[in-house]
Every structure is written in C-alpha cells, then in structure tokens.
C-alpha cells in the first residue's frame, strides 16, 4: 500500500491510516457491498409495488443506499485505497436470494422484515461501532450513515407494527421463518472467525483478526448487531423470551 495523503486528512490521521488502510479498505468493502445490495433490494421492491407512493418511496430508498455506497467509495479514495464490492460474494448472495424469495412471493411485509429489521440492524449497529473508532471523515461518514439507516428503520417500524397488530401470531411466525433464513447467514458472516473459507469481499486474507488494530473486534460487531436486532424485535412487540431463544440458537 502506498503512503496516503489527502486534502481532508491531517498529518496525524494520515500516519495512523497509512498502516491501517488495508483494514479500513476491507471494512469499507463490506459496507459498500451491503449498501449496494440494499439498493438492489429496494429497486426490486419498487418493481413489486403497485401504489405510486410506495414505488417512489422504494426508489428513493434505493437511491439513498447508492449514495451511501458512493460515500464509502469516496472515503476509500481519501485514504488511497480502492473499495471493491461483491454482491455475489457467498454470504451477500444468500442474503439477496432470501430477499428475492419474498419478492417472488409478492410479500411486501417479508421484504421489509428482511431489509429493515435484519439487514439494517446489522448495518446500524456495525456502522455505529465503526463510527466511534474510525478517524476523521471516515468515522463521521460511518456515523452519519448509521443515523440515516436508523431513520429508515423507524419508517418501516410503523408499517410493521400495524401489520403485527392485525395478527400477531402470523406476523411472529413470518419473522421467525425469515430469521432462520436471513439471520443464520448473517450470523455466519459475523462469526468471530471465517471458518468456511474466504468471504469473497476482503481484498486479501480475512480482515477479522486485524480488527483489533483499529480498536474493533469481530465479537463486538456481532454482539452489537445482535443486540440491535433484539431491541428492534422488542419494539415490534415480539416477546423477548422468544427472540432470545431465536438468537441463542444461531450458529457461532
């Protein structure tokens, strides 16, 4: 990796980033891939919707996610790294397929559960953690995007709570079914070590063991993500003892 300079980067910041840039490169790549996948999901959702307002809403969200991906790419450029993305990487591909199954079933609520409850819990929690430790504009960008994603979740929550109020049992069963599919994949992604081969997003070897060098850890990102997920399910009104069982049964 070349030494890094940027007009937005202080001398101290650049010195610290020059050694950790490969780590940030992989963190940014995972984040960018997630944002592009979210953009694709919202585009797919817009194609399923019939209500013009819902279509516009989904397209707006899609654009917003693309904007986030662009912001992460820009942060990479600031520290002198190319931020790759791979929505076909094995875990991300499975997450996309889970969403597309909801699309195929024309299951609008299912789509919201996958994207807003499960994937966004992961995004909000992990971006927030990264935002706290990443230096300069990199940290600010992660924190800003975490806040924006949280707004997305708030928007979806009102729809989902209304849906649950109609038939709680049916709603909870649906969430559990999607949990088994989506959260199992996310749990594998978030495992402390990638024991099932390369994730196909990191540019070289797995970034997880190096996260300690930037005051992060895979365990912390997983813990924060699952905590955010549980809290989101609490807000939806799903009994906490049920969701606790769901989460403890995930693979590690």
């Amino acid at each position: 990796m070349e030494p890094l300079t940027s007009v937005n980067c202080s001398a101290i910041e650049c010195t610290s980033l020059s050694t950790s840039a490969p780590i940030w490169q992989d963190i940014l790549a995972q984040a960018m891939t997630g944002e592009l996948l979210a953009a694709m999901n919202y585009t797919s959702l817009s194609e399923m919707c019939e209500d013009p307002a819902e279509i516009a809403d989904a397209l707006e969200h899609s654009e917003c996610e693309r904007g986030h991906a662009a912001a992460f790419a820009a942060e990479g450029r600031k520290i002198g790294v190319d931020v790759a993305n791979n929505v076909d990487a094995k875990h991300w591909k499975r997450l996309r397929e889970a969403f597309l199954r909801c699309i195929a079933e024309r299951d609008f609520i299912g789509c919201l559960i996958v994207q807003e409850i499960m994937l966004e819990s992961f995004a909000v929690a992990s971006y927030s953690r990264v935002g706290k430790v990443a230096p300069g504009s990199l940290g600010k960008t992660f924190a800003r995007i975490a806040a924006e994603e949280e707004d997305h979740v708030d928007h979806a929550m009102s729809i989902l709570r209304a849906e649950r109020a109609r038939d709680a049992q049916r709603f909870d069963d649906k969430v559990y079914r999607l949990h088994l599919d989506v959260m199992t994949t996310l749990a594998q992604m978030l495992a402390k070590e990638c024991t099932d081969g390369h994730c196909e997003v990191c540019h070289a070897s797995c970034v997880k063991p190096s996260l300690f060098d930037v005051s992060l850890s895979a365990a912390e990102l997983r813990g924060a993500s699952l905590q955010q997920y549980l809290k989101t399910l609490d807000i939806l009104g799903i009994p906490g003892e049920a969701t606790l069982t769901w989460v403890t049964q995930l693979p590690v």
Binding site: A219, L244, T248
Partner: protein, 383 residues
C-alpha cells in the same frame, strides 16, 4: 423447533403475570447452562469463549415462565401464581463498582420488561436489589407494578437457618458470639436486629464505619453489647456463629480468626466465602434459601438451572418473597431496602410464606447436604 418457538411466543402473549423475578447468573458456568437450555439439546453448546463474548450484549428480557403453587387449597385445586423470570444478563465478572452505571441500566431495563409484562409485583434478586436499594425512584415509571427487594424473607431464612444449625449441632445460641460481615447492608442489619437480642455478644463488620456506629447505637439502645470493626482482625473475641452477608462481586472473603467449630452461614449472592478460605472445623452452610413445597414449574424447563441447588424447588428468599406475596394477593413493596427490616416485618413475612408452604430449605453447602434430607437423597437418586 419452529413449533416450540411459536408456542413460547403464544404463551408469552396469553398468560397473565402475577409476579416477575429479576435475577442474574453468579458464574459463567450458570450462564452457560441457561444459554444451553435456550439453545436446545439438539445444538452443540456454545463454547465458553463465545458465551463470554455474547452474554454482555444480550439486553435484559424474560427467559421463562414460572408457576408457583401454594399449599392453600381452593375449590379449583391449589392456589397458584404465575410469573416470569427476567435475567438482567449482568455478566458474572462485571459486578464490581466499575460497572455500576451499566448494571443499574440493566436492572432498569429488566424492570421495564416486568412492567411491560404486567407483573403486579417484582422481586429484585441478588445484585439487582443492591444496585437499586434505596433508589427505587430510579426504576422506570410504574403503573400497577410494585417492587420488593425480597430481603425480608432472605433475613427470615438466614435467621431460621442459624437457629436450625445451632439446634443440629447442639449449640446454645444464647451463649454464642455472633459476627455479621456486611452488617450495615439491608440483609446484614436485618439479621442483626433479629439475632442480636438472643445471643451473648455481637460483632458487626462492614466497610462504612459511620453506618456501623449508627447500627451499633441502635442495638445498644436496646441494651445489647456490640463491637464494631471494619477489619475482621480487630475484634477482641472469636465468633462462633458467623453470617456472611456482604455485597461482594465474587467469592473472596477470608474470615481469618473465628472460633473452632464455628457455624458459618454464607448468605451472599454471589457467595461471600473464598474457595481458598480455611474453615477447618467450621460448619458452613448456604443461607437465605427457601423451598416451595407446593411445587414450581418452569416453561421452558429450567429446573435445576435457574435454581441450582441439591434439593427440589429451592429458591433464594429474595425471589421467594415476590412469589409469596403474589400467592397471598398482597401486591405491595414489602421490602424497600436501606436497613428497614425489623423482627416484626420478618415475622409477618414468615407467616405469609409458611401459609403457602414456603419454608426454610434443607441446609447444604458446596459439598452437599449438611443435614439428613430424605427428599434430597430421592432427588439425587433420580439423577
């Protein structure tokens, strides 16, 4: 698996909750066992390092439903109360003062769960009451939910345990020198008020000398001879009856100089006595425990996991107080902390508990039962 999870969710929605018990695990082994039950027998238990990574992130929440039965018979059978056990998921190695704000937030969050579940009375188990003691205003806004520390019934069972052990050992309590470690706490001071009038001499130990002096003055006003010290080595006499009721984050107490063949009640949660404490000749038992003779049921089945005792249906007094009050239909903040436990209140709580078949548990220690207990042997033989 899907059915059982869906069933659990349905259960949570349809059952009225009389009481809630807020607790936490005192060891990583206990925490691992709780997670293993939740994870189910068909899955590999989580490795210890994963448990230590995951548990601190779990927000407080209900873990299981608890039904408790009274021995009082009604037309429809035994009276019963329904409740939930809420774990605050305070990590066992984070009970120290450094984590106090984080832990208070956890207890507040657990309390919010109890309120949301509609519990009429909530018992604060272990460190939960220590964290909130005297600061009930720090709990979330309540509607029809009251909180009790449960310490009055804990004191009752400690005192009963001391008397029983003295009887078993053929000791005359009135000739004993009583030492209470953690004497100024809610439980310690309650024990002092109950036992000081019936022993020969009283030694009180705690960290805060001002609070020690205040308690001593209160007892001395009733003509009781009291000696206080912040350091156990400073006492002029050796105690032959000892109650350990200090709020210690881990079992670390070394008693040092006590009488040969002393009776020692470890009433801490977590336990007070260090595993390395030399207790040669002493008879140690775990105090503050009661047994529900009407029976208890957990859903999912946490029998022997949440109540890790060598006897069936044994529970800490602090949690049993909420259950007893629920069975009695007395939804009131019976124990509010900060040293307000008196002999009269202990008598009242004992009466309520015994009316519903909640009695002192058979005495035991880390090595097993310390008295003949036929139903323990039966339980052990069941495997």
């Amino acid at each position: 698996m899907g059915d059982s999870v869906a069933g659990l969710a349905t259960l949570a929605r349809t059952i009225d909750v009389d009481f809630a018990l807020i607790g936490h695990q005192e060891s990583w082994r206990a925490a691992a066992d709780v997670l293993a039950v939740l994870r189910g027998p068909e899955r590999t238990p989580l490795p210890d390092d994963e448990i230590k990574d995951i548990l601190p992130w779990i927000p407080p929440r209900a873990v299981c439903h608890v039904d408790v039965r009274s021995i009082v018979r009604t037309k429809s059978g035994g009276a019963k109360a329904r409740g939930i056990y809420i774990d605050s998921f305070i990590p066992p190695d984070r009970l120290e003062a450094a984590y106090v704000h984080e832990n208070i937030a956890r207890v507040r969050s657990a309390a919010a769960c109890a309120i949301k579940a509609g519990a009429k009375i909530v018992s604060l188990g272990g460190f939960s009451s220590i964290l909130i003691e005297g600061n009930f205003d720090q709990l979330p806004e309540r509607h029809d939910t009251v909180f009790t520390t449960g310490n009055t019934l804990t004191v009752a069972f400690i005192v009963q345990g001391i008397k029983k052990m003295c009887a078993l050992e053929g000791r005359n309590l009135s000739r004993s020198t009583l030492l209470i470690v953690g004497a100024t706490g809610d439980v310690g001071s309650g024990c002092a008020r109950c036992l000081a009038p019936i022993v020969r001499r009283v030694l009180l130990s705690a960290r805060n000398v001002e609070r020690l002096r205040k308690l001593a003055a209160e007892l001395e006003a009733d003509g009781i001879q009291v000696e206080i010290a912040t350091d156990l080595q400073q006492f002029s006499a050796e105690a032959d009856v000892v109650i350990c009721a200090a709020s210690l984050a881990s079992p670390s107490l070394l008693l040092g100089r006590i009488a040969p063949h002393a009776i020692v009640c470890d009433a801490g949660y977590p336990k007070n006595l260090s595993p390395s404490a030399e207790m040669l000749g002493a008879t140690v038992f775990f105090g503050g425990l009661g047994q529900v003779t009407g029976g208890m049921r957990f859903a999912p089945d946490f029998h022997g996991i949440l109540n890790r005792h060598p006897f069936p249906d044994v529970v800490h007094g602090c949690l049993l107080e909420g259950m007893a009050l629920a069975l009695e239909g007395r939804f009131e903040p019976f124990s509010q902390g900060r040293g307000s436990i008196t002999q009269e209140r202990v008598d009242e709580m004992e009466t309520i508990a015994s009316r519903h078949g909640i009695y002192l548990a058979p005495l035991y220690n880390a090595d097993g039962p310390v008295e003949d207990a036929p139903h323990c042997q039966m339980e052990c033989s069941r495997g």
